[in-house]
């Protein structure tokens, strides 16, 4: 069995019964899939014309270059900026001075609660909707603000997770506050944060799809070009399947990287838990 808490090793009768359930469930699921495929076929969704863009080099190139590459570019610029912003806010929230702590707290709360789409449209209008580069930066900056706020909490949790003795020892050998933060707490916190950081990359990558509303480049934009092209006879379904598949593959690769990094550098079994969506409540974050 799966090692679930809910079961012990089943006896022969239970095994037989479960086998029957398994077959029944399998038949039911296979039936559902088959029905879906038949309906798709009946509606002509497997026509070559509808799938043509995904086997023609021009569109494959468009998907990979204008889609995947742009999406990755946006996601990584957003994450890089978000790390900077997040560390800044995180350090701010840990500050001893209330006039640094309070504004940092307010900024984190604000950007975490505001829907990314709202900030995206705002920044797009701020930069000027007629400029060619503004959709790209609207996506990147909106994601920076949102993910930065989330990462600030992650960073704070990371710093708090550094054993207290480390800090005390550093003070004891005569390091100053800044030195303790830079030389002792920050490197260890970053190590603890690393897997959570990569998970946040998945979130950023997925959220670049919201660039849809500001006409930003990326996979979703390419998808729109393809399914609104009259030549392909309204191929929304094939397009959604293909684009979703690309996103899934990208994210699974990222998740695999996260797992590997965690094993290699952190050596802990449990990821520092961050909500996938990022509404981390400081009280709910694990303090390890």
């Amino acid at each position: 069995m799966s090692g679930s808490v809910l079961f012990d090793v089943p006896g022969p009768r239970a095994v037989a019964r479960q086998r029957v359930y398994t077959v029944a469930a399998a038949v039911l699921l296979a039936g559902a899939v088959a029905y879906a495929v038949i309906r798709l076929e009946q509606n002509g969704q497997f026509e070559y014309q509808k799938w043509e863009p995904f086997v023609s080099p021009v569109y494959i190139e468009a998907l990979l270059v204008d889609g995947v590459l742009e999406t990755l570019k946006m996601a990584f610029s957003a994450i890089l900026l978000a790390v900077g912003f997040g560390v800044l806010l995180g350090v701010g929230k840990l500050s001893e001075h209330w006039w640094v702590r309070r504004p940092s707290w307010a900024l984190v709360e604000f950007w975490r609660a505001v829907p990314v789409l709202l900030s995206m449209i705002f920044i797009w209008n701020l930069l000027g909707t007629d400029k060619e580069s503004s959709p790209y930066w609207a996506v990147v900056l909106a994601l920076m603000l949102y993910n930065g706020a989330v990462l600030a909490e992650v960073f704070r949790a990371g710093v708090n997770a550094v054993p207290k003795g480390q800090v005390e020892a550093a003070y004891a050998v005569g390091l100053r506050k800044t030195q303790v933060m830079l030389a002792i707490q920050l490197p260890q916190a970053v190590k603890i944060m690393l897997p959570a950081l990569i998970s946040q990359c998945v979130v950023a990558l997925k959220d670049t799809a919201l660039g849809y509303v500001v006409l930003a480049p990326g996979l979703t934009y390419v998808a729109r070009l393809i399914y609104s092209n009259a030549d392909f006879a309204q191929n929304q379904i094939p397009t959604v399947f293909v684009v979703a598949l690309i996103y899934i593959v990208l994210n699974l690769i990222l998740t695999a990287v996260a797992t590997w990094v965690q094993k290699k550098f952190v050596g802990e079994k449990k990821v520092l838990e961050v909500p996938m969506v990022g509404e981390a409540d400081p009280k709910q974050l694990p303090t390890l």
């Binding site: 799966s2 808490v5 469930a25 604000f110 609660a113 789409l117 709202l118 209008n125």
Partner: protein, 231 residues
């Protein structure tokens, strides 16, 4: 500020749509997510794999793509939402529930359910081993173990992460706006378009309303958490 007062009815109506999307998809995702979680921890391998497959596919797909599927793609294969248009008259205007609205509710439900499922699953795994064993020892079948012993405790342990998932849903309702529901995001976009000079005011105003809504949800979650806590 005048702008908000001038458009107060339209803004109230927009947030009524937002809240309605949130409530409907919230309830839907809780139901679907619970079923998926039960599948994932249950004894039947095929259902376990199906549940895991669902979660992996949906969780790694952007919400926009999921909603585009239900809003634009699904109707092409007769998976139409033949929804009888419902008009709810309110003091600030009519709320129209049509096919677009239904498609967005379904999309949000399907997407959020994956996260609800994972939150619940971790809650189920957090329930002490002895609880399930004791329930099995007195002869309860799987369904009984789940519904009477494990799930009630799992829900309690899962309130904080579930609240996070639902808050994410609240913010995600804006995506439905981008695909044709007249909710808060679209209203803000329209107002910005007509009053470009008031960009800052409009953004901060709408953002603060969202901050308040998020605070309300987390307040309710905290209250709930306190009430069901074992002391």
């Amino acid at each position: 500020m005048d702008l908000f007062w001038e458009h107060r009815e339209a803004i109230a109506l927009a947030f009524a749509y937002t809240v309605l999307l949130f409530v409907l998809a919230g309830i839907g995702s809780m139901i679907l997510g619970t079923v998926l979680a039960a599948m994932r921890v249950g004894p039947i391998p095929v259902l376990r794999w199906a549940g895991a497959g669902y979660v992996h596919i949906v969780r790694n797909t952007p919400l926009v793509i999921v909603i585009i599927f239900f809003r634009l793609a699904a109707p092409k294969i007769d998976l139409k939402f033949n929804f009888v248009d419902i008009v709810i008259p309110t003091a600030v205007g009519d709320i129209r529930l049509n096919n677009i609205f239904a498609a967005c509710v379904v999309g949000l439900t399907v997407y959020t359910a994956a996260f609800v499922c994972e939150a619940l699953r971790s809650g189920v795994n957090a329930v002490a081993l002895g609880q399930a064993e004791a329930a099995r020892a007195i002869g309860l079948p799987f369904a009984g173990v789940m519904t009477q012993v494990v799930l009630p405790q799992a829900f309690r342990a899962t309130i904080p992460p579930l609240a996070n998932v639902q808050i994410a849903l609240l913010k995600n309702t804006t995506v439905a706006g981008a695909l044709g529901v007249a909710e808060a995001f679209i209203r803000m976009r329209l107002l910005i378009k007509n009053n470009p000079a008031e960009l800052w005011t409009l953004f901060i105003g709408f953002a603060l309303i969202f901050v308040i809504l998020v605070e309300v949800v987390s307040f309710v979650a905290h209250r709930l958490e306190r009430r069901v806590r074992i002391t």
